[in-house]
């Protein structure tokens, strides 16, 4: 069963791998910011135990999977990094709509 938790974990793991790539310091800082955001969301997802029936759940999962896939592709083609960061931010926005911890996500 797909869970928000496992998909967030996958995305963070991919971000950790991307940080080791030959990207600029500025890009690394953006990745770190997004990773912090994802950790905050993960902690909340664990506490809230969000059921699958929650509105926006499926969209959030889809967005997370798209973000993870995009980061994975970026590891081979660093040109795609801005697209990946955008997808990571979009997915974060969708999770935020579910957990509602009051974090503003800037793409």
């Amino acid at each position: 069963m797909e869970t928000l938790r496992s998909n967030i974990v996958d995305t963070i793991n991919e971000l950790n791998k991307l940080i080791h790539k030959n990207i600029s310091d500025e890009e690394k800082n953006i990745i770190r910011k997004r990773r912090r955001l994802y950790f905050a969301l993960l902690e909340e997802v664990i506490v809230q135990e969000i059921p699958k029936s929650t509105e926006g759940f499926d969209e959030a999962i889809e967005a997370l999977q798209a973000a993870t896939k995009s980061i994975n592709e970026t590891k081979d083609d660093l040109e795609k990094i801005s697209d990946s960061i955008k997808k990571v931010s979009e997915a974060a926005e969708k999770i935020e709509k579910i957990v509602k911890i009051g974090i503003k996500v800037f793409a």
Binding site: R5, S6, V9, I12, N13, N16, K17, I19, H20, D25, E26, K28, N29, R32, R35, R36, F39, L42, E43, I46, V47
Partner: protein, 323 residues
């Protein structure tokens, strides 16, 4: 004459039998006490290890949050304030479930200890102490289970009163049969509750696993980045300095790998305590304090507790982790 001889014979028999009865009673006590004490020590150890694994989750979250601030960009650094520092907290502060699991684990630990003390106490004072420990442990288990599952554990006030009267009946001189009766009744009454609490703990382990592994892997990723950056910017030039930093990375990677298996073992530890208590329950129900199954189960429990402590010592003890 015949009567006198009979009396003499009876007198001799008593003197012959008395040491044997005492030895037998001693063995009887010794055997049951040894088994229950072994169960008690191993269960308390495993509960303690599990508590340490929970503390690892809390500690790794704090460490990860510190690292996150340590790698702030220059712009973020300018905005670093006290509020950000005060937000560095582990998962316990906001996660009631984890906090409650800790209470439940302490309850199991104290319960196991109390049963062990009750089985081996030689003085009435020790019995009273074990009685207090038992009362405290069952109260913790009761509360923790209610918080975890929103259900009642089913240990009523009358049960506490029953346990107290059973323990009081052991008496000043410690009557072995009454001690066994007290242990038997406590184990029988507590077994269903222990199963429920162990199941609740086992089901909460997955969240801790996920968070801890991710925290530790993030810390590792940043340490690797920091090393690469320091070499690139020539902050570390000497070979010995590089070697010691790489050794640090190796230790960090080892901790990450161990954290991946420790949660599986914690689940198994909780399962083993539950199973051993179940076998103890089945044995005492038949008034047996030692059976081949109990010996086997307790043996496995003791071995597992020892192995776990040995293997995860550096992971679970923050002081050893630094070395």
């Amino acid at each position: 004459m015949r009567h006198k001889r009979f009396n003499k014979w009876r007198y001799s028999l008593v003197w012959f039998m008395l040491p044997m009865i005492l030895i037998a009673q001693g063995c009887f006590h010794h055997q049951s006490a040894t088994h229950i004490k072994a169960f008690s020590v191993a269960s308390a150890n495993l509960a303690d290890q599990t508590i340490k694994v929970y503390e690892l989750t809390d500690r790794s979250t704090v460490d990860r949050k510190i690292i996150e601030i340590a790698v702030y960009s220059e712009k973020e650094l300018r905005e670093l304030d006290r509020e950000t520092i005060d937000k560095i907290k582990g998962v316990f502060s906001d996660n009631k479930k984890i906090d409650t699991c800790m209470i439940a684990l302490n309850g199991i630990k104290e319960y196991a200890k109390a049963i062990g003390d009750l089985s081996s106490a030689d003085y009435s004072g020790d019995i009273k102490k074990a009685s207090c420990e038992l009362y405290g442990s069952l109260t913790s288990l009761n509360k923790a289970y209610k918080d975890l599952s929103n259900k009642d554990l089913g240990i009523a006030k009358e049960d506490f009163a029953l346990f107290a009267s059973l323990i009081n009946a052991i008496g000043e001189a410690i009557v072995e049969t009454k001690r066994r009766k007290a242990i038997k009744d406590i184990v029988i009454k507590t077994n269903p509750q222990l199963i429920k609490v162990c199941d609740e703990i086992a089901s909460s382990v997955e969240n801790n696993k996920v968070l801890t592994n991710l925290d530790l892997n993030t810390i590792y990723a940043e340490k690797v980045e920091s090393y690469k950056s320091d070499v690139k910017s020539k902050k570390i030039i000497k070979l010995n300095d590089k070697v010691s930093r790489i050794k640090e990375l190796m230790q960090c990677s080892r901790i990450c790998k161990k954290s991946e298996t420790v949660f599986k073992d914690v689940k198994e530890a909780v399962e083993k305590v539950k199973r051993a208590h179940g076998v103890l329950y089945e044995s005492v129900k038949k008034d047996k304090f030692t059976t081949p199954e109990l010996t086997k189960e307790i043996g496995e429990l003791v071995a597992f507790a020892k192995e776990m402590k040995k293997y995860y010592d550096d992971l679970l003890d923050p002081e050893k982790e630094k070395k």
